[in-house]
Amino acid sequence: MATLKKSDEEELIIAHKELAYQNEEKEKRAVELGIANKELAFQNEEKEKRAAELSIANKELLFQNEEKEKRAAELSIANKELLFQNEEKEKRAAELIIANEELAFQNEEKEKRAAELISANKELLAFTYISSHDLQEPLRKIQTFVSIILETENLSESGKYNFQRMQLAAGRMQLLIDDLLAFSRIATTELVFEKSELNVIIDEVRADLKDTILEKLATIDATEIGTANIIAFQFRQLMYNLISNALKFSNPEIPAHIIINSNITKGSKLHNKKLSPEKSYCHITVKDNGIGFEPQFSERIFEVFQKLHGKEVYAGTGIGLAIVKKIVENHNGLITATSELNKGAQFDIYIPAA
């Protein structure tokens, strides 16, 4: 080594220094690389984690996609179904329109028929009225001639008897004609409602029945009587029938006593299920002290031609109370009868108060 030149030595030192420096640098690099390596390894790991997460998310998306496709397919089917149903509904609607038109037509036809029936009915009643009205005259002639014969001719006993029977039959025919007239009159006259004093009507009836009232020694009390919205002409007939009925079926042993009352009362206080509780009614009662009737007949007495006594005992056609009921019905009202045999009778009339 001694032989080495100074320059060489210097060069060596330099080289050495250089090497040492390079070494140092390399070591620094190695350390840096190590750090970078670790960093890369960490980043790698992170990326793998992300990749795994993405893979999971992907799978999820794929699944959702599939589900959505399934839903879309289902919706498409449902859509088709709705479209079909819609079409069906339109068809039904069209059918219903046709059916509706048909019903409307039938309805119209029925109304026409009903109107025809009503007019035919009216015609029939008018016919009944006119024919009974015109039957009165020849019948009266027959009766008058029979009575002239009975009075003036010298008849045998059997001849007299036969003419008397003829007279009786003609009398019954007269009753029937009178009642038929009254019955048809109820349906043929116009229904004109007017506020009327019931007292006036009762007084008129009293005047018409004055002979019978005298004969039966009857008193009619009608003190608490008000006004009512009624078809006056028909109501007069109603009162006439009820009062003459009370006189006819009076108890022969005591003077007849008829009490008539009227007042306006709420349906709820009238104890009758057929009345509406919130409506007001004009409640009219006609009460007598006559022979009455058994309770089981309380409905039947209002039917046409229904009688409780033979014609030999009480003359009558069985139309009178039917007329009464018809008149009450024309007033949209209700009538009831309550009685017991030999205990008088009471008629209750309920008419909606205007």
Binding site: K141, S147, E151, K210
Partner: protein, 152 residues
């Protein structure tokens, strides 16, 4: 007993039988009467205008007559100043309350429904004729307008 004045009656009725019944009925009563008859409403109005000076005391008027009915006659009589004091008794087979009210309103004196037996026929004519001879001419109440027989 003082002498009774003869009551002049004019009957307007298209029915032959009813005119006969009426005349027979008058024969049986003890009030002196004189009866003239006409057979429809037109003849009645003619008679009244031809006999202005000797008008009847009372007219018995049927309602249902040809050419001119009883209503028309009553209205004409009551609207005529020379005739409206005449007493008019309506004498009809039918009995319609509305009609009776209208006739009362139109000024008829009485309403009689032709009865179905001759005895009643005589009674009611007798009763009416005596009412006509007795009464003053003041307006009757509605209650007395329709003449009926007691107990018939």
């Amino acid at each position: 007993m003082h002498e009774m004045i003869t009551l002049n009656i004019l009957l307007a009725d298209d029915d032959k039988d009813d005119r006969q019944f009426f005349s027979m009925a008058l024969d049986g009563i003890n009030i002196p009467t004189k009866l003239e008859t006409v057979v429809d409403g037109e003849k009645l109005m003619d008679y009244l205008s031809e006999n202005r000076q000797q008008l009847p005391d009372v007219i018995f008027l049927d309602l249902n007559m040809p050419r001119k009915n009883g209503f028309e006659c009553l209205t004409e009589i009551k609207l005529n100043q020379q005739l409206n004091q005449l007493q008019v008794v309506i004498f009809s087979t039918s009995f319609e309350q509305e009609v009776v009210n209208l006739l009362y309103h139109n000024g008829a004196t009485y309403y009689i429904r032709k009865p179905s037996g001759f005895l009643q026929f005589k009674k009611i004519i007798n009763h009416t004729v005596s009412l006509i001879t007795q009464e003053n001419r003041s307006k009757k109440s509605r209650e007395d307008f329709v003449i009926t027989l007691q107990g018939s």
